[in-house]
């Protein structure tokens, strides 16, 4: 039975944002705020940096565009020059469409799989799932979780702190395996 951390419930989006600000100001770094939908302004309240996902998508998009243009150039100029109604072999304006489509296709893969990478999903065994009540978070509940890995973590101190900032139904999560 290893411990994972502490979760505390808050009433609504406003109190979750205020709680996040207090947890951030207290100096915690390994914490998260769980909600049924994304809350506007929560990134600042938690002190999160801007997502790096954009760079991944940009790089993938560029790769797709270069691959698309390169593939067409290679096919018609080098590998299989085909004279069709006298059109030039290197007909670069005609390559625009497939270059664009492959850029979009690669960017979309970058967006979805990059998101999964940054979010560390799929992951089916997270300790928050050992809490019965936590599952309401996908419907109508708002939770703060503070992990045991946090340098400032001290179980009784964290519980008192979460109580002070208005958390209810405080639970210590234990990994049952």
């Amino acid at each position: 039975m290893s411990k994972y951390g502490v979760i505390a419930k808050f009433d609504n989006p406003q109190s979750l944002v205020h709680a996040a600000e207090k947890v951030r100001d207290e100096g915690f770094t390994k914490f998260d705020c769980h909600s049924p939908f994304p809350i506007h302004g929560m990134d600042d309240a938690m002190g999160l940096k801007r997502s790096k996902l954009g760079y991944v998508i940009g790089a993938m998009g560029l790769t797709g565009a270069l691959f698309g243009f390169g593939l067409q150039t290679w096919i018609h100029s080098i590998e299989y020059p085909m004279n069709i109604s006298g059109k030039p072999y290197f007909a670069y304006p005609a390559y625009a469409i497939i270059t664009f489509e492959l850029m979009v296709l690669f960017s979309a893969f970058g967006a979805v799989f990059g998101m999964m990478f940054f979010n560390r999903i799929p992951r089916f065994h997270h300790p928050v799932f050992y809490s019965e009540k936590f599952s309401d978070v996908s419907s109508d509940a708002f939770y703060v979780s503070i992990e045991i890995d946090d340098p400032k973590y001290d179980e009784s101190g964290v519980i008192d702190f979460l109580k002070n900032i208005g958390g209810t139904e405080i639970e210590v999560l234990t990994d049952e395996n």
């Binding site: 769980h34 990134d43 979309a108 998101m115």
Partner: protein, 459 residues
């Protein structure tokens, strides 16, 4: 009452009644969780399955016998298959418009219908992809479309609009699928948390272990925004590329620069018609009138009015340019559309696409549900005729009168077209039964309580 205050009152009514986060979850997730499937669902599903069996049988016979079973013949080699392809792709476009473009414009009313519309896109594009696939005749070499190294040392011609089209529609399908699935992840987590036993395992598998933490939402929201951002030019490109299948040819009536925007407007018009048809049925069968409200139908009717007028403008501009160009072949092609042997197809198109949407200038008609239901079906009949006009009427009389002929579809053309409805509705009904038809997470964002500043004083 000023227009502005009226609009504000409307915005608040998007989710009428005393709804909160819990009731939204219960209402939407309650549909796939139903113990007893409604009898209407079984009736519709039975009908869809029988149409699907017609599809399987007629496509099977087509593959066995060849495209000779269709009515295509000299000079009309692009018959119903291409009409249906363009028609189904066009229907799909409204889904992407609703989910991507309206998301970028922060039109929150879309949150009630976007899941719906995206699913419609997926199945409509599958139906569309069937047609070029079977139209090649030798379906077992359809993979020659792909730039795959092969022992013949042969490559596709990347300068051809038909290959552009293949890449565009294939990319469109893949990106739509990714967008749809990304939107589903939080909702699958909701279903996972409410389900038990095997269902919990299946929903849980696809929910990927979503925990709703803001560290996840942060990347998720960016991914969703970027997907919306890249889907927007993509959807505009797809129908533009479809139109270049026609516009890059030298056939009078096809060789025009107005085709790309005109095809895109028509696609959105027909797609909204289909979203309207489907949502009127679903809100009735599942009693979701408080989530998909008359307000949403009204807004969709307004977009249909706009795009219908754009299509009407394109029809008249084509005629003007045909006359103004001074090209006798071009002029003849258009006179032949309106007054030739297929005049009924042209005027059916004008009636459904130009005359019918004019009723939407009036609020009374935009909020009259039986009227909306009938017009939404007329819209799609009209858009089918538009493609009939473009494909068949243009081809049947081109330059040389000696090469003119009439086009006669066979029962197999009809059977395959009807069959794709089976394919479409079977998929759509399975979606309605097992997945949340409205985005649970996004529907909550419409509630004022979801704003973290709700209740703060603004004095």
């Amino acid at each position: 009452m000023s227009i502005k205050s009226k609009a504000l009152i409307r915005a608040e009514k998007l989710l009428p009644g005393n709804q909160d986060f819990t009731s939204i979850t219960d209402d939407i997730a309650g549909v796939p969780e139903q113990k007893k499937t409604p009898i209407q669902w079984w009736l519709l599903f039975g009908l869809s399955l029988s149409l699907l069996s017609i599809f399987v049988g007629s496509v099977g016979f087509l593959i066995w016998e060849g495209t000779g079973i269709w009515g295509i013949n000299n000079p009309v080699f692009w018959g119903w298959a291409i009409i249906n392809f363009v028609w189904w792709v066009g229907i799909g476009h409204a889904g992407t418009l609703i989910s991507a473009i309206l998301h970028l414009f922060r039109q929150n009313w879309r949150n009630a219908i976007n899941r719906f519309a995206e699913t419609m896109t997926l199945f409509a594009v599958i139906c569309a992809l069937v047609f070029p696939g079977i139209h090649v005749g030798r379906i077992w070499v359809a993979y020659w479309f792909l730039p795959l190294p092969n022992q013949m040392g042969m490559w596709p011609n990347m300068r051809s609009p038909l290959i552009w089209d293949f890449f565009a529609v294939f990319t469109y399908f893949t990106v739509s699928l990714l967008f749809w699935y990304t939107g589903l992840i939080p909702d699958l987590a909701t279903l996972r948390d409410r389900a038990k036993g095997l269902k919990k395992k299946v929903y849980g598998f696809f929910a990927l272990g979503w925990r709703g933490g803001n560290r996840q939402w942060q990347h998720y929201e960016l991914a969703y925004l970027v997907l919306a951002g890249i889907s927007t030019p993509l959807v505009l490109s797809v129908h533009s590329v479809v139109s270049s299948d026609f516009a890059t040819s030298v056939i009078p009536g096809w060789h025009t620069t107005i085709f790309p925007p005109y095809f895109v407007a028509g696609a959105i018009y027909s797609g909204f018609g289909m979203v309207m048809t489907l949502s009127i049925i679903a809100r009735k069968v599942y009693n979701l009138g408080h989530i998909i409200t008359v307000e949403h139908l009204d807004k969709m009717a307004q977009i249909m009015l706009l795009t219908g007028c754009m299509v009407g403008y394109a029809y008249s501009m084509e005629f003007f340019v045909a006359w103004y160009s001074g090209n006798p072949y071009e002029s003849f092609a258009f006179v032949n559309r309106a007054l030739g042997p297929y005049w009924w197809g042209y005027w059916a198109m004008i009636f459904c696409n130009v005359v019918v949407p004019q009723f939407f200038w009036f609020e009374k008609y935009r909020r009259h549900i039986p009227f909306l239901f009938i017009t939404s079906i007329l819209v799609n009949i009209g858009m089918w005729f538009e493609r009939f006009v473009i494909v068949v009427i243009t081809l049947h009389r081109d330059f040389m009168p000696g090469a003119w002929a009439m086009y006669n579809p066979t029962m197999w053309d009809v059977a395959i077209y009807l069959g794709t409805f089976g394919l479409f509705f079977t998929g759509f009904l399975l979606f309605l039964r097992f997945l949340p038809m409205v985005s649970i997470a996004e529907a909550k964002l419409v509630l004022p309580e979801s704003d973290p500043h709700h209740g703060d004083s603004h004095e």
